[in-house]
Amino acid sequence: MPDAALYLTILIALPFVGSVIAAFFPTNARNAEAWLAGTVSLTNLVITIMFLPSVRNAKVVRAEYEWLPDYGLNFIARLDGFAWCFSILIFGIGFLVVLYARYYMSPADPAPRFFSFLLAFMGAMTGVVLAGNLIQLVFFWELTSLFSFLLIAYWHHNQNARDGARVALTVTAAGGLCLLGGMLIIGHIVGSYDLDVVLASGDRIVSHALYLPTLLLVAMGALTKSAQFPFQFWLPRAMAAPTPVSAYLHSATMVKAGVFLLARLWPVMSNHEYWFWIFASVGVLTLLIGAFMALFQQDLKGLLAYSTISHLGLITLLLGLGSPLAMVAAVFHIINHATFKASLFMAAGIIDHEAGTRDVRRLGGLFRAMPITATLAMVAAASMAGVPLLNGFISKEMFFTETIESHGNSVLDNNLPYLATLAGMFSVAYSVRLIDQVFFGPAATDLPRKPHDPVIWMLVPIGLLVLICLLIGILPGPTVGGFLATAVQGVLGPQLPSYSLAVWHGFTPALIMSFVALIGGVVTYFTLKTYLSGNIEGAPVLRRLKGKRIFERAIVILSWRWARRIADIVGTTRLQPQLRLLLLIAMLAALWPLSAGALASGALALDVDWPFAVDPSFVLLWIVGCGCALGAAYQAKYHRLAAVIIMGGAGLATCITFAWLSAPDLALTQLLVEIVTTVLLLLGLRWLPQRLEDTGVRISFGARLRRLRDLGIAIVGGAGLAAIAYAVMTRPQINSISSTFLERAYSEGGGRNVVNVILVDFRGFDTLGEITVLGIVAITVFALLRRFRPARVSVEAPRQKRFQNQFDADRYDAPKAGIAAHYMIVPGLIMRLLFPVVAMMAVFLFMRGHDAPGGGFVAGLTFAIAFILQYMAGGARWVEARLRVLPVRWIGVGLLVAAATGLAALVFDRPFLTSAFQYADLPVLGRVPLASALVFDFGVFSLVLGATVLVLIALAHQSIRIYRAMAAAKAAETDAIEEAR
């Protein structure tokens, strides 16, 4: 073939392309969809057939594309004889299923979804088969699970379909994840994911220490996909899918992926007793259970599903035996099973369609009504039972032969022939039951519809498959010999074991087993006939063992009830435990290096200078400060006002400490911050509901214990932090960059106030960020408080205010009672007069900032205090009627000025925020230093002012809004009273 790589790619890509196209057809375009899907599968079938010469005699065709080379993952399409055989099944049966589905689906069914998913599944399945890379195999493997899920749930309004789809997906996808794990380990052992490399690795996997986990993971993948015990339960549930899906996915292709995988890895993994034990025992169990359960099914498709499980068990068993001959039998049975089971499913679909039910007990005598369907189905069923002259007989005889062969002298091995014959008996029994109860006996009378043969095009696919059954069964050598040899060579290499494909091998033990099974099966069926027709659901004994029910329970318990319980135990949504945990973790993290380091060096010896000569007044200051801090914490819960004020004391102590330790700039800033925050907190406190101490309630012992524990955490954390802080601050800075700041502040930053130069120049970028934070916080507070509605208890005026108003009203007999008009009149006047003074102070602080304590931040806060005073004195309305207060814009201006100052440097070809300074001789002021940093500082000033005032306004407007709301409520009330009158 000239361009093999291209055609190989087409094989995988064409179905996916078709799937995408199919999705965009109109809802009722059944014919167009069928033509599209049919063309796709036929084209691929023809391409596959053309590949035959290239894959004969164990030759391989490869196409490789680079995908993820760094991780050893390339996209490799690889076709050998075995993959070729599967491709024929996929496209051949795919084509027949498409033809069948065209007539099976009702005109009302939305065709695009069905055909689109079907084609996508076909592509995914092709991907699995043609994967030349282990990871790529898993890739398409999971895709088949996904599309199978979507196809099973095609009739998603049906609860059974939804459940069946979900169970199927959960089981097969879980298997797929295990498989991924297994494949990764194989890649790890072999050193490559390339299938050819893996297949050439000989005994490396088997002899590796990780063989058992690998095998188990791979087995999980294969056994779930092929519905082997104990994962068999998903397949019967998947029968809720439309019948073409069952015929295609759940008999011919997808469920075969598991055994395909086992056969694929068979050359490099089967040479170990674990392989035999796992797959032979699982296979034989599944074979028996499946066949036994199938006999007792009342649903036609259920019977076929269990039969499929059983036949897959047979194939798994054959693969588990590990001998090349068993391999040949397995491949042969894969082909045969696909032909007879697909046709049986299609027949079951027709019966369901025409008769309106799939219940075996209600059907009967259909032979007269639909002779063609009946004949075809009977041939297929006979093949399933292993009747001579049909293909099922030949592969089953090969199977029987293999069970007799010895594969290690174990109990399982010695009993295999008997178990196989027993399973064969059941298989015959359910086949006979299918034929007898559906097609013969008295004609059913209570059928929902009057059955008759369907249109010819629905019978053609079945007819073709049955014809193949017959041809293989009568003339195995000429028909299927080459095909089988090609397929087997794909797995075993050019050296084939000697086997003969013939109907007659003489009187062999296998023939005897076949006859025992046939006769035994017929006898079994007729013995049980009446029992089976009775009111039974499922097989005796095993009926109780509802895999599906157990599985669903387990999933619900695991994924829902336990998950919720565990989530409650190991997680929390409450704030307090979260904060406690966070602190504990932080403390542990801090202790970790301490303990590790101390343990390693043998002693916990930090050289710390202990202060022996301290000024007593400084000590007193700190005692007061610490006392305030503790007091604030103590009062915080029930006496917020007290706590806020006491906190101010602690702040003041910090302030004085800064001044004491020669940091005037810090002291000034701290002082202003303390003032502003305390005022704002007090304003906010007004709107919080009061908290009352429950003095009467006895605190339980547990609660006490919890509080003690929290106290302990607080003490350890606080003391630890204090110790660490002390240790760091008292040690000499050896090679810190801080000395550089001192040296360079004036020479390069143009300012004598080093703190300010650091803030606006060295680390001006930090300041830019921090003022942004301030601005963001302000607008956040504003946005939050705009929607804030205070609690009912905080709405009315506080007691003191009411008292004062009452007093004023009594005394002055004034119509307009108001605190501002009487009580506050003198302080108010002073506050108003202070406005220009404070403003001037702010300008002063701002101007001197670069050289002496002050600066934009402090100036902004000072100016804000001027505003706060006005609001306090006159109230929000009074101020806003007289002053244009536009804090949001001030914030904007601040940010833009600061940013523009920095950007100006770009014009001079310098990086952002490069500063410049110069002295200028101004008329009145004389020689003043002018630094670009001053403009930047103005931005800081504007923003700090804007942010503080915005928060102030957000709080102040609460009162306006609340009175408005109260007025509205009152008005509504009076209206209601008026109306009532």
Binding site: D70, F114, A173, L177, I737, G892, P911, F912
Partner: protein, 550 residues
Amino acid sequence: MNWLEHLTVAPILIPLVAGGFMLLLDGRNRTVAAAINVVATLSLLVVAIMLVALEGGQNAGGHVYLLGNWPAPFGIVLVADRLSVLMLLVTAILGSATLLFALARWDKAGAFFHPLFQFLLMGLNGAFLTGDIFNLFVFFEVLLAASYGLALHGSGPARVKAGLHYIAINLVAALLFLIGASLIYGTAGTLNMAALATRIAGLPPDERLLFEIGVAVLGVAFLVKSAMWPIGFWLPNTYAAAAPPIAAMFSILTKVGIYAVLRLGFLVSSSEDDVSLLFGGNWLMVGGIATILFGMIGIMASQEMAKLAGFSVLVSSGTLLAAIGYGGAAVTGGALFYLVSSTFAIAAFFLLIELVERGRAPADDVLAVTLEAYGLDDPDEADDSGEVGIAIPAIMAILGSAFIACAVLLSGLPPLSGFVAKFAILSALVEPTRGPTESWGAWAVFATILMSGLATLIAMTRAGIRTFWASIDRDLPHVRVVELAPVAILLILCIMLTVQAGWAMRYMRMTAEGLARPGAYIGAVFAAPPAQTEPFKAAPVATTADGGPP
């Protein structure tokens, strides 16, 4: 300096200036604010793409920008290396997508959406670019402050409650950050990350001890941000309660913590014993595994889809922490790929949830789950009526496909980038190059990642079936194209990541290898020359002996 040099600072300045202008409008004219927002965000996208084009291919330590023209370690430097520009690009893409979505209706749910959004972008970009620990703190604060505002956007009791929890936790985290940073400055004498890296080895034992305490406390602050168990409980509720486009944007916030761990973790590794301080003792890996486990339990226990998405963020975070904690360039490379893929996927999912849940009564969920939990939906009673399919309306088909894509991405199933990412991490985990001591860790991470995929799949299937299949007679959601477009864009990017996996992964791997060898980064920071001396300024003193690289 040519203008391209200044490109490094642009991702911070554009949102700053845009936000400033919006505030100048006083938040009154929403249309203009929205227009500024769109222009700024799209320019960020362009800048990010240019930066990736400029820096992505280079093998050096990245482009260093000296703010204020002060040489390292005295001033603040910005460093645009591969990791930084990658994060910038992810942020810009995410920002564009979520903004588009928000413009349809959510920006009107409260005041100041547009400036807050820009400030969030500013904080994120700054955190990704800066090469200075205190500056990192500042940008953390910027992005956190903006995220407080955005988490509360739209108000409502649930949002305010979750938002205030979020604020409280993050304030403590910020305090820890500050403590850590001051300890580091107090002992090492610098906050410049590169300078720090050169100084650790020379620290005397006492300083070293205090320094390590500082790093540990700092690490806790980062881990709060990346929501590691047991200090990440704040996340699911906050994200679930936040307005959907904001929750989608928040999917990158946890990645800031991860970024900081990556950046500092590799830099602050003591050179002599090759054990990183932040990664020491396998803590990160164990924490990551615990986070994945908790996340997956939470995913399964979630009724609302928004909660499910919130817990997916935990799984994503945990996976990253575990992978990074395990270490190695190959694993880290895979983790970076996972970072990008999972961020997009979770963002798309958050947006999608809002579209899907329109026109659905919230009680439906509770009922469906209760029925299932008690096994009341006995399939035997189910109606077998009519095996005729029901056509899915086009809008539901589109949303359904997007949902499947999200489920596939989050659970790491093929064919999308989630699978590629998981494969890369897992395959690197089983690489036979590590010693036996690490191998238990490798297997633990390996198994946990695989299990988390299954748990996600189970939960997503349950949620999907309930939403798309179980209730047929539901009202169709009214969805506009501008709202579908962002979801589509994010998902298409994930598809492109899958198709171009080789190229993308090479970038990630180069990034990871660069991180593992911080020499180039440190060299670049110290080698960056200041622009020539200004006329009125003395020449900067040459780098002092203690400041420069040894």
